[in-house]
Symmetry: C2
Subunit: 212 residues, 2 copies
């Protein structure tokens, strides 16, 4: 994470919380200052405006998610760790949910983030491909032609839009259920390729109880 | 479709084309008037502003997509028609792409559309469920517990975000390829549940050559 003054860190923490909980569109830089009980001038001394705050938050998110996503590309996970790993991804995305909930509009307003976010999507796809390739190599998954690449793309797409779709379709949902649902709807995309036993329950028991 | 004066119809047609091709955020009601070579006052006589234009376009889209989506709920498709049917859905969504490309922002600005769009998503899920249930009843698909409902939800989510994901991940793409990709990435979600032969090529040959 970038080295920052204590005030800068507090500004970003407060802004992230407000953006996530109230909706980024509803919150101005002045609101952030007001919640922190500092003057707008003091805030502007540290960050020139809301775009600069969003840019700094994106820097942090990018650093964290890249670290998470490159993990299993560099070193295969144990079978059991796949399950926990999906939780880590969904929790990271949830922590940055204001962006995921309104990405098309934010990227229109801040086009400089577009290529960086596209690279994160490519990395998501690469990570998903790597995870399912390891499971295939271990004999746990079996694919017909074209299915593996399509599944990797679909998982990356699911990571990216699960929040927006869930919001639109089911309205506000407690975070635990939301994240559980994200993980469940990822795993159940993998079950039909699972070579052992039948379906989700079996895959789950392998992920939860077996050391690879 | 709603009964409308010739000018109203022309305004909507022009606005839809501009929104779709230039991006809705870039286009004002005055731009629409200017392309039509009418005065802004003349346009405002018919539609009070951009939100009213978007509202009327949404009315049309809602009417068309509901008609399309309820088709296979009321009467099962022949096996062969599934393929064509997916093209019809993706083409309809593509025709209304300005909305799909920026839905989170438009729904924030026009919250009155939110519940209506949520109902379209529920209908998408119901239609997908109905399509795969018919294929299951015909012995073409076989699901383990929980997989059918999850697949229906995933297909509805895919209809909804395929455009945004494709844009973000791959940039601008000719419409034919975009729509082909949408249909392909839907079908390849179904192949692992396919009971005959192996994979996509087989499913495709059944969809293209067999009368159910």
């Amino acid at each position: 994470m970038a080295e920052r003054s204590k005030t800068k860190t507090r500004i970003l923490k407060t802004a992230l919380e407000l953006f996530n909980n109230e909706g980024e569109a509803q919150i101005s830089a002045v609101d952030v200052a007001s919640v922190m009980e500092i003057s707008p001038g003091n805030l502007y001394y540290h960050y020139k405006g809301k775009p600069e705050i969003i840019g700094a938050l994106f820097d942090d998110f990018e650093e964290e998610i890249r670290l998470i996503l490159t993990g299993p590309i560099n070193e295969p996970l144990s079978l059991k760790d796949n399950w926990v790993y999906l939780y880590i991804i969904f929790e990271e995305i949830y922590d940055f949910r204001f962006f995921y909930r309104n990405m098309s509009e934010i990227l229109l307003r801040m086009p400089e983030l577009r290529a960086r976010f596209a690279r994160i999507l490519a990395l998501k796809e690469q990570t998903a491909f790597s995870l399912i390739s390891d499971l295939e190599d271990g004999g746990f998954l079996k694919f017909a032609e074209g299915e593996k690449g399509a599944l990797a793309g679909r998982i990356a797409q699911h990571f990216t839009f699960w929040l927006q779709y869930h919001d639109l379709r089911h309205g506000s949902t407690p975070p635990k259920i939301l994240i559980d649902q994200g993980v469940f709807t990822t795993l159940i995309q993998i079950t039909p390729y699972w070579t052992r036993g039948d379906g989700y329950a079996d895959l789950l028991s392998e992920f939860l109880d077996t050391e690879a």
